[in-house]
């Protein structure tokens, strides 16, 4: 068996709390994880193998406990604990709910989120890393194994946070990361993990989620017979090339091997692809200035989610591309021509492609990134074949008709969609456009 603890053993925290071992959950390279309970609540305990239980690790953990979790998407160290039965230390954290699935499950297609929830998950990950970096921290080891999401709603959970450190503190490194996620300068051994390398890993993670494929794995990858350390160092570090680099065709995805990249690249709008092109051309070799920032990903992902249009024939989610409207697009599932629906164009220049499931959030009005507040939904007329926008907020809207008369739309009232209708939401205007 050789586990460090048995059921029933007790662990103590410096503040006097006692945790009881309930069950062994698993072990990794650094230590073992147990299910524990204290005062009728269950937690997870990670206990370090003695060799890993260094003073530096302890100090790093104490700092994380002190700083606290950036938001509620992290499974964060709550406190350090000690035991009279084993040398060294461990830490207590919350439990990962079973509703969260690993990225591996998406890669193996064991879960099938909608594009809407997949993009929400991407947004939530970006937002969480933004919060982490805002606290002066860096994650260092983004990989499949420590990022989880709920495919039913896009909520995310980021685990293994004991490797998080203060940015640019090179003194103590216990992990460098997973090769396919690591920034080229780290693969080449030229840099330690820091916020800029996190940005690179984040763009790899987003690419994996949205394309179920790796951004640097095309012909150059399939030409490699044995994918060993040397091959990985060349592919990801010494000579990395984006699979859709506009100026370098040498690494295009290979049909039959990198099918997902080919399929998904056809589906997404140009502005999203442009972000990835930048992330994996300029971003490959310019860590300080070339990488796509979290605030850019955030805006791009919200726009992507608001560009979802449903095929009139088979109902599959596709994407409208307002920057490329002359390109007639076909549904990826049934090949029918996509009909562009009505658009709500804001005076801020953002827009939403309106469909029966569209939501207008507080964010759309004030760029506040508040998505907990829905201020408008799509509502069908009870008797006529007519759709409108329902005022779910607590304030009046004003609508200007084409004859310049104004109509008040009170909370819970719905205004029907009519071309060129202008809606004053208070913070900004929106205009209905049924034709582009």
């Amino acid at each position: 068996m050789n586990q460090l603890f048995e059921k029933g053993q007790k662990i103590n925290s410096p503040v006097g709390l006692e945790y009881e071992i309930l069950d062994f959950l698993g072990s990794g390279g650094q230590g073992e994880v147990y299910l524990v309970k204290s005062e009728n609540k269950q937690y997870a305990l990670k206990w370090y193998f003695f060799k890993q239980a260094s003073q530096e690790q302890k100090i790093a953990l104490e700092k994380l406990v002190e700083i606290g979790s950036p938001n509620n998407c992290f499974l964060w160290p709550i406190e350090l604990v000690y035991s009279k039965d084993n040398q060294g230390f461990g830490y207590i954290m919350g439990l990962r709910d079973k509703k969260y699935k690993s990225i591996n499950d998406l890669m193996k297609r064991k879960i099938e989120p909608t594009f809407y929830h997949l993009i929400s998950a991407c947004y939530n990950l970006v937002d969480s890393f933004y919060e982490l970096h805002s606290k002066g921290l860096c994650y260092r080891d983004i990989s499949f194994g420590n990022v989880f999401f709920d495919p039913k709603n896009g909520e995310v959970l980021i685990c293994d946070n004991d490797n998080v450190t203060v940015n640019n503190s090179n003194g103590f490194i216990s992990v460098l990361g997973t090769p396919s996620f690591m920034a080229p300068e780290i693969v080449r051994g030229e840099a330690f993990p820091n916020r800029n390398t996190d940005l690179y890993s984040l763009s790899v993670l987003l690419f994996y989620l949205l394309f179920i494929s790796h951004p640097l794995e095309g012909k150059r990858e399939s030409n490699i017979h044995c994918m060993d350390t040397r091959a990985m160092n060349r592919l990801y570090g010494e000579d990395p090339v984006f699979i859709y680099d506009p100026n370098n065709l040498s690494n295009r995805p290979e049909p039959g091997i990198h099918e997902n990249a080919i399929i998904f690249w056809r589906i997404y709008p140009k502005y999203l692809k442009d972000l990835f092109i930048r992330a994996f051309t300029k971003g490959l070799n310019d860590p300080n200035n070339g990488r796509v920032r979290e605030i850019e990903w955030r805006d791009g992902l919200i726009l992507l989610r608001d560009s979802i249009i449903y095929c009139n024939n088979c109902d599959a989610e596709n994407f409208g591309d307002i920057t490329n409207i002359n390109n007639e697009k076909k549904c990826w599932q049934c090949q029918n021509s996509l009909e562009y629906p009505t658009i709500l164009q804001f005076s801020s220049s953002n827009f939403i492609f309106l469909n029966s499931k569209s939501n207008i959030f507080q964010h759309h009005l004030d760029h506040s990134f508040k998505f907990d507040k829905v201020i408008g939904t799509m509502n069908k007329h009870p008797s006529k074949n007519l759709w409108g926008i329902k005022n779910e907020s607590s304030r009046n809207w004003t609508v200007q008709k084409s004859d310049n008369t104004q109509v008040k739309i009170e909370p819970n009232q719905t205004v029907s969609l009519k071309n060129d209708l202008k809606i004053d939401f208070g913070e900004i205007w929106g205009e209905i456009k049924s034709q582009l």
């Binding site: 890669m107 909608t114 179920i212 494929s213 017979h225």
Partner: protein
């Protein structure tokens, strides 16, 4: 399906158990090996589940008087079953190496894979021309690229096993008691597989290495205290 496309592109990881079933393995040794190998299966399935870009295939080869395949076809790990082996005969390690080298040719090996993992478990001295078999393995590109590990049980010929590993940075794992044997087998089936899929990288300033580190592995830290301090050799 709400999303287009399919599974992410992956590579096979071919894993080979090469087990000494000579007469000296009778009793405790072969039973420990049988139990330990059976117990590796759930752990390997778990690792395979956590690594979408690798498909783990397992095979097993036994040798005593001659050599033969126990499981010849690459078997997806979730379908792999361990059939307990008996022990009897001499130690024809060379014959095992020849059989192995046939499977490392292209075909049947694919042109695109992860480094294969070859794990040799032996308690004795080879009784045939093992060098010839070893040459056959190293003549194959996949044989050269494979991660080769050896577990020595009791008084095995460590020098032979070192020749099999052919990497000064990877020591022979010397199992002097059943607990250590079980631990080494478990470590090989988990950490080595994991490291073949996700090799560690070097720190700035560090020299490159083969990717499989053993000296830092916690498993060796958990050796029984008697083994570490005693000058006695455990004898089965």
């Amino acid at each position: 399906m709400t999303l287009p496309g399919g599974e992410i592109s992956s590579r096979p990881l071919h894993f080979f158990w090469i087990v000494d079933c000579s007469g000296s393995m009778v009793g405790d040794k072969i039973q420990t090996v049988n139990n330990a190998l059976d117990e590796t299966i759930p752990e390997m399935i778990k690792i395979a589940g956590e690594n979408a870009k690798a498909h783990l295939f397992v095979r097993a080869l036994k040798f005593s008087s001659g050599a033969e395949w126990v499981v010849k076809d690459p078997t997806p790990v979730d379908q792999f079953k361990w059939i307990p082996l008996d022990a009897d005969g001499v130690t024809d390690m060379g014959a095992a190496f020849e059989l192995l080298s046939e499977e490392l040719k292209m075909p049947p090996m694919p042109s695109r894979a992860l480094p294969p993992v070859l794990v040799l478990i032996s308690d004795g001295q080879p009784t045939d021309d093992y060098k010839c078999g070893l040459r056959s393995i190293f003549n194959e590109p996949w044989g050269k690229k494979a991660v080769r590990i050896a577990i020595a049980i009791g008084d095995a010929d460590v020098d032979t096993l070192k020749e099999f590993i052919a990497d000064p940075e990877i020591p022979v794992l010397e199992a002097r008691n059943p607990q250590a044997l079980t631990r080494f087998i478990k470590w090989v089936s988990t950490a080595v597989v994991e490291k073949s899929i996700n090799p560690p990288s070097k720190l700035p300033g560090e020299k490159g290495h083969s990717g499989i580190q053993i000296s830092n592995d916690p498993i060796l830290e958990k050796s029984d205290p008697e083994t570490k301090s005693s000058t006695e050799i455990d004898v089965w």
